[in-house]
């Protein structure tokens, strides 16, 4: 098999990047003390700057940098606007919810997102841990698989298909498994800082060259808006209620996305949450607004309806870079940025799922005691298992990652997030209402998605896919809590930290 020098350079770029992340993993391992709290949430000692980069890395991923520009030309501009809408509610309530999660995390030394849920519900602990673990697993395995798609697709497209998609997929999984198993949350956080810096360099280079090529945002926008694909992509196809439910249900559910929750636990103090939140939200303006806008418009303006042949549609982005910048050092830098952002979420999600299986499912749900000296081995095996299981989602992708996310992943997160956020403030919620809420929400989600309305948006009302199951979960929480006895006063005071 003949492989060109350029393809070998792309392969070496990937290997070099991961060599550096392995060093981060090694340093992380050296600095990781014993214990689950240290391994999964870095002992709650991450500074504001580290927290800022980890928050940013949670969101500024392949989803924004590769998925969103792609969806603008493959599905329509409205899908990216929908993403902008979610920030309207997410940013507004970030500090309100984040500070409470930080407070409770510090008070009770939580390790997994499930910890706070089962503690607040205050009963049915084993069953609830298993249920929540299954819900998070369901969504997160799809999520990780979904991000594998652009992670491997981008590099395969950069080599023009010379090195196949599945080869890059295998390499990604192997490298990630090695360094997360070694260093836990500390390794992820250090690698996130490195990814953030690399991403910023690549992003600035992209902005500079894009502006030089197109001559400014307005000219680029008009070039895209008058291209032959424009009448098709710049049209609204979804009803208003779909947009509005994305604002309310999808946007707010992001406040309890499991891999963000553990970052609230990991913050050293309130400044970590506030400064980290402000910095990362400001970063989103570049990563989630400027970057996808410029790239998506560039794709429309440059290709119009003659989009390139690629294995997965996310490959449009590296193809565009190759066309605009040619093969050279700048392109390698941009590829590094792309590798960094595609990687940044996969690793933290793997760590999260590992903690959920390890702590919630095996130890506290099923009651299997794992000796401390075997803990690392179990964690490593769990990471390997989940990483491999998620690959099945990415083996033969049928839709753009963004559509998979909106339709399948986030509805499950919404069913977990909404009742939890309500229970953070509503003290009358009790164990019966809490348990019924998650159970009814998840069951209705599965029924609506796979049995009753198998076609998107999985409801007859034209609302976002997660809306009806979330409403059912909330109705159960309120109704069942009100018709059953309130939670004990002692419990409420202890949970909310009211008892001195």
């Amino acid at each position: 098999m003949n492989i060109s020098t350029w393809s070998l350079i792309v392969l070496s770029t990937l290997v070099t990047f991961f060599a550096f992340t392995l060093i981060a993993g090694y340093i992380g391992a050296k600095r990781t003390k014993k214990g689950l709290h240290e391994f999964y949430v870095a002992g709650g000692t991450l500074s504001a700057i580290t927290v800022m980069f980890t928050y940013m890395a949670t969101y500024m991923e392949a989803w924004e940098f590769v998925g969103m520009p792609t969806v603008i030309v493959s599905e329509g501009f409205e899908w990216w606007v929908i993403e902008m809408i979610f920030y309207l509610s997410f940013v507004a309530l970030f500090y309100l919810v984040g500070l409470r999660l930080y407070k409770l995390g510090k008070l009770h030394k939580y390790i997994t997102p499930t910890d706070i849920i089962v503690h607040r519900v205050g009963g049915f602990e084993r069953l609830l841990r298993i249920l929540i673990a299954l819900m998070i697993l369901y969504a997160t395995i799809i999520y990780i698989g979904m991000i594998y798609i652009p992670a491997a697709g981008v590099l395969a497209a950069a080599t023009g298909g010379e090195i196949p998609y599945h080869t890059f997929l295998a390499l990604y999984v192997i490298f990630i498994i090695i360094y997360i198993s070694a260093g836990g949350m500390r390794a992820v956080a250090y690698a996130d800082v490195m990814a953030g810096v690399t991403f910023i360099i690549a992003f600035l280079a992209m902005v500079y060259v894009t502006f030089t090529y197109w001559g400014g945002l307005d000219k680029l926008a008009w070039a895209a808006y008058t291209s032959d694909i424009a009448p098709e992509i710049f049209q609204k196809t979804q009803p208003f209620q779909y947009f509005w439910t994305m604002l309310i249900f999808y946007g707010i559910s992001w406040l309890f996305i499991p891999h963000l929750v553990v970052r609230f636990y990991a913050a050293k103090d309130y400044k970590g949450v506030i400064v980290g939140g402000m910095g990362s939200n400001a970063g989103f303006f570049l990563g989630a607004f400027v970057s996808p806008l410029l790239l998506g418009l560039s794709l429309a303006a440059y290709y119009g309806s003659n989009l390139p042949e690629v294995e997965v549609v996310e490959g449009y982005v590296p193809m565009l870079f190759m066309e605009l910048f040619g093969i050279g050092p700048l392109l390698i830098l941009i590829l590094l940025g792309l590798i960094a952002i595609t990687r940044s979420t996969i690793d933290s999600m793997l760590l999260l799922v590992s903690s959920i299986i390890d702590v919630d499912l095996i130890e506290r749900g099923l009651g299997i005691k794992v000796p401390e000296r075997s803990r690392r081995l179990v964690s490593t095996l769990v990471i390997i298992g989940v990483a491999l299981l998620s690959v099945t989602v990415a083996l033969a992708p049928e839709a753009p990652m963004v559509i998979i996310g909106f339709e399948l992943c986030w509805p499950a997160y919404s069913v977990i997030a909404w009742p939890t956020i309500i229970m953070l403030f509503w003290r009358r919620a009790n164990k019966y209402g809490g348990f019924a809420s998650y159970l009814a929400g998840f069951l209705s989600l599965l029924l609506f998605t796979y049995v009753i309305w198998p076609e998107a948006p999985h409801n007859p009302l034209g609302v976002w896919e997660g809306t009806l199951p979330t409403l059912i979960a909330l109705a159960m929480l309120i109704i069942v809590s009100l018709i059953t006895p309130p939670p004990p006063k002692e419990f409420v005071e202890k949970f909310y930290g009211l008892k001195k």
Partner: protein, 102 residues
Amino acid sequence: MFLTTSQEELGNPPDVDAIPANLMRWEYLLIAYLVFASYLVWHVSENLLVWEPGESIWGLPKPVAGALMIALTWIILNFMLFAVYYLVITKRVKTVVWGRKE
């Protein structure tokens, strides 16, 4: 179940006690903001997500201008809320520390 013995002995860090369990009164204003955000979403989705090459807002095509309106709203809100929360919680932390000294 989750509270460690060492924490019970040492007491909470001041910032943990300073963050209220309930919503602070002014935080209810965020509900009013969500009403405004709903209007903005309606305006953008119903009036600006169109293909009308002859029309523009701020020199940009309507859909791009609509997206810009949304993004500017949340980024301005971010800095505003950061300042408010930083000042409010820092003040509350000082009050907690002062109270403990007394």
